[in-house]
């Protein structure tokens, strides 16, 4: 079946503009994660959804970052008033979700964001 998809694959934006990044998880996956990966660096956790609720938003770097998920499916990560330090690859992952169990995460190809 189809994997996790993300759009756009690349986004170049001017400093100060808002951007929206989209993630379509694997059908039936109730858990959804957003990560940020700067060039040559590790995975920085941003936010986690279980269904449509976000029990863990601890990784959002500032109030310029927000995310939502609707219909236990698509998720959107919004960055307002982008700054150059926001430049990175934003990765989305989904997994089956069940309290007390850990499932493998399936990652999308990512959105490469460049803020000029």
């Amino acid at each position: 079946g189809a994997g996790v998809s993300q759009s756009p694959s690349n986004k170049v934006t001017e400093k100060g503009k808002d951007v929206e990044l989209r993630c379509d998880p694997i059908s039936g996956h109730t858990a959804l994660y957003w990560y940020r990966q700067r060039l040559g660096q590790g995975l920085e956790f941003l936010i986690y959804f279980q269904g449509n609720s976000a029990p863990d938003k601890s990784g959002l770097p500032s109030d310029r970052f927000s995310a939502e998920r609707t219909g236990e499916s698509v998720s959107t990560l919004t960055i307002q008033r982008t700054q150059q330090e926001d430049s990175a690859v934003y990765l989305c992952a989904s997994s089956l979700g069940e309290m007390g169990r850990t499932y493998e995460q399936y990652f999308g190809p990512g959105t490469r964001l460049t803020v000029t």
Partner: protein, 112 residues
Amino acid sequence: GQQVMQIPQYQHVQEGEDFTTYCNSSTTLSNIQWYKQRPGGHPVFLIQLVKSGEVKKQKRLTFQFGEAKKNSSLHITATQTTDVGTYFCAGRGVFGNEKLTFGTGTRLTIIP
């Protein structure tokens, strides 16, 4: 909060040599996963370990979970150019938190 460190950060080996990366958590883990990210790609799940002292093998890859469930290792025997990439461990705590905490990663390069 939970921290997961990996060493080394970088490793360059001659093709055919062995490679090991070590993963250490600041807290006890309920399980640990390993992922591989090829250059320019996204992380791909390799394996999950759950039991204390567990050892699993996938061809040339051997994964271990420590007795105290606070550390893990990945060993690759006789590396090949296809092993190039960054290897991440990811652990989940024991207190019901669903979030996996990813390690800092070890980037492996192979000298042909």
